[in-house]
Symmetry: C2
Subunit: 184 residues, 2 copies
């Protein structure tokens, strides 16, 4: 019966994702003030009106972005969970790679912290939480697990402000791996 012409407005359409990609890129380039509806639309190759068909307001746009962040982070965490070996190293490494899709989304979301329209903080907290679950599965000692998480988050913060130190950070990661090995 319900073969509606207009697809359920909350579901993946090609344009929807293009728009969210454009938003992400603009957030990374110039923060939330650069991400005007006009700019996002243009970057996505549609008009402002076209964008507003998919996301009825700026708030809806932000919510769409955070929804995608949550689901993709959860998926990535699940995938990593199975990869199992070298999990900690992989987790810490990815935090230092600004080109990784997951890292890009998190860094973009970090630039959205503080906006009125949506609760970015909660979405990020959930994201970090889903990764902590993966870490905790590998490290029995909860204090050490939290320590690993905090180092990873520190790496994110440095990626955010562009003050990473690749060589030093690799040594830190190696040291962490040692600590984890000793704890078993």
């Amino acid at each position: 019966m319900s073969s509606i012409t207009r697809p359920s407005p909350a579901r993946p359409s090609a344009t929807r994702d293009l728009i969210l990609d454009a938003l992400e890129t603009l957030l990374l380039e110039g923060g939330s003030s650069a991400a005007t509806l006009e700019a996002v639309a243009t970057r996505a190759g549609v008009s402002k009106g076209g964008l507003l068909y998919h996301f009825g307001s700026k708030e809806a746009l932000y919510e769409g972005f955070l929804a995608r962040l949550r689901t993709s982070a959860a998926q990535e965490a699940a995938r990593t969970r199975n990869a199992s070996q070298g999990l900690i190293a992989a987790y810490l490494d990815v935090s230092t790679v600004p080109d990784d899709p997951g890292t890009r989304s998190v860094l973009a979301a970090l630039r959205l912290v503080g906006v009125q329209e949506v609760d970015v903080e909660a979405a990020l907290a959930d994201t970090f939480e889903s990764w902590y679950a993966v870490i905790a599965q590998e490290i029995a000692d909860p204090t050490l697990a939290r320590l690993v998480q905090l180092v990873g988050d520190g790496l994110y913060l440095h990626a955010l402000i562009g003050s990473a130190r690749p060589e030093a950070d690799q040594l830190v990661i190696a040291r962490i791996i040692e600590l984890v090995a000793e704890s078993r």
Copy 2:
């Protein structure tokens, strides 16, 4: 000769600091979008025109804020350097206290990351750098020093998104202290 009526516009006046305090508070409460010139002026108890006498533009206002961040962070680092004993614990503890004046300024600045007008990232990088210098003075092993810094920055990030875990984080801090002690 030059006994100008108007004080050198870049120097501390009571109102100037009130305005910067107001900006800081508004950034913490509602992010950069909440910090309009009007809102900042009202919060500081002056009119928009009054504010613009001290800071000729929004960019100038932001620069004033970052300048104060740099100098106060440098001063705090210098002070801590002399306190010397329990330095690492103090450094990590303060990262978890959102009421500490220094922490407040850093968190406010973090909410400014990505704005067009000024280079917030560079100011924050300098701030973190001045603390690293203090840490490195206490910890001979540079890898361990960086690890301590990363944990501290992870704590900042969690303070930013409101996902700190006071008990767990205290245990992590205790563990770090042990690691530092062992390394001597």
